[in-house]
Amino acid sequence: MTGIVSYGAYIPIYRLDLEDIEKVWGTQRGKGAKAIANCDEDSLTMGVEAATDCLQGFDRKMIDGLYFASTTPPYREKQTASIMAAVLNLRKDVFTSDFAGSLRSGTNAIRAALDAVKAGSVSNVLVVAAECRLPAPDSDFETQFGDGAAAFIIGASDVSLEVERIFSTTSEFIDVWRTDNDLYPRTWEDRFVLTHGYLEITHDAILTTINEHNLKPADISKAVFSAPNQRAHITMAKKLGFDYQRQVQDPMFSVVGHTGAAHGPMMLAASIEQAKDGDSILFSNYGDGCDCFILKVTDHVERIRHGKGIKKNLSSHMKLPNYGKYLHFRNMLKWEADRLPPPYSSLTTYWRDRKQILSLIGHKCINCGKVQIDFPVQRVCAWCQSKDNFEEVRLADERGTLFSFSMDERTRDLDLPSIMAVVDFDEGARFMTVMTDRDPEKIEVGMPLEMTLRKFHEGHGFHNYFWKCRPVRD
């Protein structure tokens, strides 16, 4: 039986209070906050976080497919899944593919993975959905959108959720769109869009799915379905006859926001955290049609809850100090002309050190056992001077402690002060990098740190990703 083997999730640490948006525009925004990607995050880096969470306790060699889903991939032309496969140290013969363009792309990828596993061409597919959508300032979307990611391993053995039924519909309905020339998503009058789009299409698809499976709404333990906003979500539950309090998965609108292609998958991850052996989960995701799944929870589910998931990501958060910071993070204004030269990069150097840069590979000296990491990649051991006598050690998943730090107020970082950190890994290596997702008031020598892939700069027009450290998010 094919199904979900593991799950993972990621929510960026920053929250923007709707009140702060209200203060800027003077129009009511309601209560709550939305999750905002840090200035060094995008759909790839958030996807990597969710994938890492999902892979905990699993041998990465077992993954033979990686599907990445987002309407906001970092490149318009260039695959994201292939970068992610390198970051995650997956096998070279992994089949990578991006699913894009639709809010349904997350479940499109899940369904494609299930089909591929069923067809036998792959055994385990890592599906990652991540989103970092840019809403127009002072729009309804600005109140609604949040950032986040979810990931699943789809496979056929040791599944925690068996997929009992899949049903999909397609629809040419235009409700949310963005052309090549649009910076922000557009929409039409919401009453029309909801009535003939989301409400009609999702309702029909879910009803068909449960009817065909000979179920009634009351038989569903948890109904996990996406919606454009809170009101539409409640309306849908009523239309289908679900008990909102007892049966319906919280869509997290007031704590995370609508996370686009990742929204349904993140809700599913949250429901798995609560799921019990034998539960029937209805999972539905809307966008240019609707994907529906009936999932049966197995006793395996208890064994895959060691990651951070939604819960721990929700509970660790920092308030974004103000709306101005948000404008900077998303680069939403025309700023003062930069007098500094543009950031330097070189694709050649980046390629030469790709393993060290993308998956933070360090080197363990076979002669003296010391682990080290430096750039460019060193061939002579700093400790015993043996030459070309190393084995590779992945440091990206290791924890470390802060040996020293400084807080620089004068770098071109968007989130000043820029925290320079000297990190001593538990493995014994030392690594100098930048600390992100931190409160400058709470930085102390000796504090525990974990590594996180971030965007360093856009030198020479491409995304220069590398590893930063952050205070452990537990």
Partner: protein, 395 residues
């Protein structure tokens, strides 16, 4: 191996005004410094047989021949980041000792204020260590601040105690530099001013950081046996040290960030040549690399001028002030006199040269009985330095 001690002499020196010299080109600075040095040595440009250029910002050695219209003589450019100056002198000394030349001009020069923004020009600080992502956000104050954080941690100083110790260093440098007519930042500051100044890279504030300075310095050098022909009060080289670290401090977990390994190696070489057993008592003054206040504190310890971890006691006791037993950075140092990278090491020697000759500008700065002094500069960042040390003294 033979010691270089007393084999080579400095017979003339010159120093441009230091500062933000908007109206001066690098050629102007070179002409200013060399004109004074030529006059000081009683020679003209045509007497020079070879030149050594100390510069970081990418002008070739030909900047000297261009400015002075030197006619096709050999010029070597020396570049070791901020450790450049001493190394230009060191190479010139060896060329003289080998008798390849009889009279050499050494010029350190830097034009840093043509870039349109504060701090060191990114172009020059990034180019020697080109990497797309590693250490791309590092800055000089950020790097040295790592050492300050560790120094506080290691010696149990609270943030306030640590900041106060560093402030005293800057107060002293500004007090000295304020009275030095050619210095860049000529104003006295108080401890409170230093402590309350805006943070640049925590824990370092504005007054913990040196200026970004335009300037040039020149020296005319010959073998000691020829020195008398130029002047009676020449000084001789007593020792030369240079240490290029394997740049591994930042990657080895046993590096403590509270000592400068390269400085210790370079100083050892120079002390051995000079026959110095106890630098604290045998040296009469030192011009040490104080691009940041913490740099001076650790340099003092790594040069062996006080015991490790005891700099604070000496700072509190005033040991390194003008009246103290071992005045340090009587010029004002990089902090107040200014720091035109490649010129700074030669400028440090310039101060010792003038003090030995009892010609310190502004007589209130003249130290008593200086017979021997040490100049120290280092380029790079903690754990990854190149260090140069020059000890000069009366013959």
């Amino acid at each position: 191996m033979e010691s270089i001690k007393d084999k080579v002499a400095i017979v003339g020196m010159g120093c441009s005004v230091f500062g933000e010299l908007w109206d001066k080109s690098v050629d102007d600075l070179i002409i200013e410094a060399t004109s004074e040095a030529f006059e000081d040595a009683g020679i003209g440009p045509k007497d020079i047989q070879a030149a050594y250029a100390g510069t970081v910002t990418g002008y070739t050695g030909a900047a000297i021949s261009r400015a002075l219209k030197l006619q096709y003589i050999p010029i070597t450019r020396v570049e070791n980041e901020c450790g450049t100056g001493e190394d230009a002198i060191r190479n010139a000394a060896f060329a003289l000792a080998s008798k390849a030349y009889d009279l050499i001009l050494v010029v350190g020069y830097e034009k840093l204020k043509d870039y349109g923004y504060g701090g060191l020009p990114i172009e020059i600080t990034k180019m020697p260590v080109v990497h797309p992502v590693y250490e791309t956000t590092n800055t000089a104050p950020g790097n040295y601040a790592l050492a300050a954080t560790r120094y506080f941690e290691r010696y149990g100083l609270s943030r306030e105690e640590g900041k106060r110790m560093l402030a005293k260093v800057s107060v002293k440098s500004h007090y000295n530099g304020a009275r030095n007519p050619r210095a860049h930042l000529r104003r006295k500051v108080t401890i409170d001013q230093v402590i309350n100044a805006p943070i640049i890279a925590w824990p370092l504030g504005l007054y913990d950081c040196c200026g970004v300075t335009d300037g040039a310095v020149a020296a005319v050098m010959c073998r000691t046996e020829d020195a008398k022909a130029f002047r009676d009060d020449y000084v001789t080289i007593k020792g030369l040290g240079n240490s290029a670290g394997p740049t591994q401090g930042a990657m080895m977990s046993n590096y403590d960030y509270t000592h400068w390994e390269e400085t210790e190696h370079a100083a050892r070489q120079a002390y051995e040549q000079a026959g110095i057993k106890n630098p604290r008592t045998e040296l009469d003054m030192a011009e040490v690399h104080d691009c940041f206040s913490i740099a001076e504190v650790i340099a003092i310890e790594s040069l062996g001028l006080c015991e490790k971890g005891r700099a604070k006691e000496d700072i509190d006791a005033g040991t390194f002030t003008q009246e103290g037993s071992l005045p340090i950075n009587i010029s004002g140092g990089l902090k107040s006199f200014g720091h035109p990278l490649g010129a700074s090491g030669i400028r440090a020697v310039y101060e010792i040269y003038k003090q030995i000759q009892r010609k310190a500008e502004d007589p209130s700065r003249q130290l008593k009985n200086v017979r021997m002094g040490l100049a120290h500069s280092q380029g790079g960042q903690p754990g990854k330095f190149v260090c140069g040390v020059v000890i000069v003294g009366a013959p």
